[in-house]
Each structure stands twice: as C-alpha cells, then as structure tokens.
Symmetry: C2
Subunit: 300 residues, 2 copies
C-alpha cells in the first residue's frame, strides 16, 4: 500500500502488561466462579491476538498526556473484543471452527457454555473497566463515562448490531454506504471506544476526545477494509482463521465493490485522514501514527 511508512513502534512490553492485567482481571473477577462458563471465559481471554484495542487505549492515554499505568483498563476493552469473537464464531452466527490458530470457544466448551460465556463477558467488561478506573484514582464521573463509552460500543447500536447486519447481508448485494455502515458498527465502534477511553482516562479535553473518536472510526473502517483484502490475499495459516470465507458466503466486501487496488486506496485515505485530524490538534504521536498505518499494512 502507498501510505508512507513511519518508524515501527515496539509494543511488546505493553502487550505483555496487558496480558498480565488480563490474568489479574480473571483472578479477581472469576475467583468465586466455578464451572465451564468461567473456563470458557478464561480460554477466550487467553487467545494470542494483536491486542490492537488494548494498545489503542494505551497509546491514546499517552497521547493525551497520561503517565500512569492504564493496562488494567486496556484489559477490560479486550474482554469486550473477546466476547464479540465468541459471539461471532457461534454456529448461529459465522459458525467458525478456528480463531487465532485455536479451536473456537464453542468447539471446546460446547454451544451452551460458549453462549453463556459471551453473555457473561459483558458484565465482566463493565465491572473490570470500572474497577480499573477506580484503581487509577479516576473520579466517579469519569469512571461512569468510561463504562458508558464501553457499553455503548458493545450493544445493539455498536458491535453486536453490526455483527447481525453483517450476517444478514450474506448473499445480498450491498452498496458502499450499506457496507460502510455495517463495518463502522461491527469493527469501528469498539476501536473508536478504545482510544476514546484512553483519552478519558488521561483527562483529555472534549475536543481531543472527539478527535480521538474520529481517528478511531477512520482506522476502524480501514481495519475492516484491510480485513476484507486479507480474506482474499492471505492464507488460512497466516490469518489463524479460515481464509476465503467472504467469497464462500458471497459477502459484499470492499474489494468486491472497489477492486483490491481501490479498496487499498480507500483504506490508505482513511489512515491519512485519521492522522491529519490528530496532527491538527497536536496530539499525533509516533505511536498513533504507526498504529494507523499498522491496521492497513498488517499481514494477519
């Protein structure tokens, strides 16, 4: 793709901190819960992902001047992301057997436990975000704002609504506007919420938080366009999930509507737009610039 490259940023330390925070979150919130629901939640949360949403919380927090440890809050966002994957993989949704190179949750624990785990992960996320915000010493009003932002992204108007629109669109010819609306909900809502929450935790001014939101929405859409492209160009092995499913299920995609080059150009333009918006407010850090480019340049 044609976006000029910035120097790569190594987030491996942050990723390790998030993994540690996820373990602490499970130890705290699931300590009294026995049985397959808790086991399924643990399995879902221990998948080896990119942790993009958690990293966006951290990078947003730093860009807004935060200097504390925001990894526990970043872990709570990953709970929402993980629950969306459990839900998306269910037989009644995308019916996937593999995710991040492992059998999906319902393949290991069965559909009832996977469904229950998915449902239970929403309150888990809300409680974890609230507890993390409290541990950071944030005021109750800010804590409430963070939990609300997370819950709004998780519901019928965000991620979950988008997943169902996506499912219903299978086999239909969607136009670009319809497709964009689905992608903005399905993938964009939580990516947007992630960086917003980083900003909220750092006490960002409303104008900065809004700019973060626009950056998140743009790179979220670019992320999904890149996903559509990867579904065609990458192998199942590279992706850690089944490749070529979009064509198989006759899904409307950006490459189908714009061609691969056209889809890539649209993603690049969204990335530029995202960075420009932050640059104008003086909050475009090398981390956020790298992350914007990463979402379109990644290989899996």
């Amino acid at each position: 793709m044609s976006v000029p490259r910035v120097a790569p940023v190594d987030f491996s330390h942050d990723r390790a901190e998030v993994a540690r925070a996820i373990e602490q979150l499970m130890a705290r919130e699931l300590q009294d819960t026995k049985g397959p629901v808790a086991d399924a939640i643990r399995y879902a949360l221990r998948g080896e992902g990119k942790r993009l949403r958690a990293i966006l919380v951290i990078a947003g927090y730093r860009a807004a001047g935060g200097t504390g440890d925001v990894s526990a809050l970043a872990a709570a966002i990953e709970v929402v992301h993980a629950y969306s994957l459990v839900h998306d993989d269910l037989p009644c949704m995308d019916d996937d057997d593999m995710r991040r190179g492992r059998p999906t949750v319902h393949r290991v624990f069965g559909v009832p436990a996977a469904t229950a785990a998915g449902m239970a992960m929403v309150p888990l996320a809300a409680l974890s975000a609230d507890a993390a915000a409290e541990a950071m010493g944030l005021a109750p009003a800010v804590r409430g704002n963070i939990v609300r932002t997370l819950m709004r992204a998780s519901g019928a108007g965000g991620m979950i609504g988008g997943q169902l629109l996506d499912l219903e669109g299978e086999g239909l010819s969607l136009d670009l506007e319809q497709l964009e609306r689905i992608h903005r909900c399905k993938t964009g809502a939580l990516i947007e919420a992630s960086i917003r929450i980083g900003g909220l935790a750092a006490g960002a001014a409303p104008a900065i938080e809004e700019a973060f939101g626009r950056y998140g929405a743009s790179i979220g859409l670019a992320f999904q366009i890149a996903d559509d492209v990867l579904d065609i160009t990458a192998t199942t092995n590279q992706l850690g999930k089944t490749a070529g499913k979009d064509v198989q299920f006759r899904k409307s995609t950006y490459p189908a509507l714009l061609g691969i080059a056209g889809a890539e150009a649209r993603a690049d333009s969204l990335v530029r737009e995202a960075c420009l918006g932050l640059h104008e407010l003086g909050v475009l850090t090398p981390e956020l610039e790298f992350l914007a480019q990463f979402v379109v340049a990644r290989q899996s």
Copy 2:
C-alpha cells in the same frame, strides 16, 4: 401454604409506570438502531410479566425512605430479567417455544437475532440504569454502585452462571446444597440485586442495604422453590410457558428432594426469615411483606 396472609397490595399503578418507563427506555436507547436486533429487544421487553423485580426496586426504594420516581431504574432491572429469559429459552439452553403466553424471541426472530439481542441487552441495561440514576440526581459514586450491583448479578457468578449450572444438572442427581447454589445464582442473584438497588437509590445505610440483600436472597430462593412446585401443579395455560418440563428433563427440584409439602414448608420458612430480618431493622413495610408472601402464593 401456611404463611399467614397480610393484606394484598395493589401494584397495578407501579406496574403501569414501569411499562411506561420501559417504553421511554426503548425510545431513548434504541432510537438509532434499526433491524431485527432492535425489534427482538422490543419484543422481549414488551412481554406481559409480573414485573416482580421492578416492583422490588420500587418497594425497596420506598421502604428505605425514597419519595421520588424510581420507575426508570426499575425498568432497567427488567431489561436484565428479559435478557435472561431470551437466553434461557434459546435452543442451546432450555429450548422453549412459549414464554408468557407468546412465542419465544428466537421463534419469532430466529436464533441469530435472539442471541444478538440477548447480548445487546446487557449493555442496554447498564446504560439504562446509569441514565435513570443520573435523571434521579444521584451522585456519580451511587450511580456506579448501582450499575456494578446490576452487572454483578448478570454475569458468570450470578444469573448466567446459574442458568448453565441448571442446564448441566439435567439428568443428574443433585443434592439439596447443589440445587440451592444453582437457584441462588439463577433466580436469586437478580432478585437480591433488585431490592438492593432500590435501597441504594434511596440512600439506604449499608446495614439496611445488607438486610435488603438477605431478604432478596431468601425470597429469590423461595421464588424458585415455588416455581419448581408450580411446574408440577400448574398447567401450561396458567404458566404461559410449558409446564412439566422439569420431570420431562429429569431435573433435580425441591419437590423431588423434599416432596411437595416439604418444598412448600421450606419456601414458607424462607419467607418468614426474609420478613423477620427486615422487621428487626424496622424496614419491613406492608409492601415488602406482601411481596415476600406473593412469591410463594402466586399461581403462575
């Protein structure tokens, strides 16, 4: 049953207020959401239920000295209850066709939309509770406490975990202790949370809130015992859902372990215990006394 009767309390006005508040909640939170997830949520929320949990919020609020309008908060608790019914009825769970005299949500909207609606109703409940608490002018710290109490009851350690334990117990011989643990999670957690939340909204002292919690846990368990008895003694028509399912699925129940009379005696004793605890603190109102007796004396 042998519990002495108190004068019946007419909650029809409160029930109408809750129905109104549920409509307002949907108008506000689902206004931008189109499609079958929103439709399924509306259908689930418009079922004609007893609204016991909402009434417990209201009665608890009044018993703790509250004088405002708590119906919007009560409506948010009903969202959690409705989501648990959607989830419980799914083919992968209890696989029920009828609920409150109507086809279940997945029978009308299909399994994907019903599953998505169930998942989306958790954030909806959190946001609605938070908005209701804000509209009542409650401090952010109290609002946070209310949302936490609701989320804790909704998760793996509460309702959802209990539903799965219940499902897994089918065909097994559970002892009384195991059965009680399932019922306390599955039904008790949200009933306990309801009256606690009423207390929190009225600014109840921690000792009162704790007593409310014990009352809720006791009547929640009594409610489930009465449910077990009704499954044997009532008809499908009376219940508005399929009767006799416990025997059909060889579920361990209180009547199976204690006999019908023994189960009824246990429920009555729990009701007395619940009322005594509040009486000792001077917060046993006629409303709460009636509700405790209602849970065991109801015919559906």
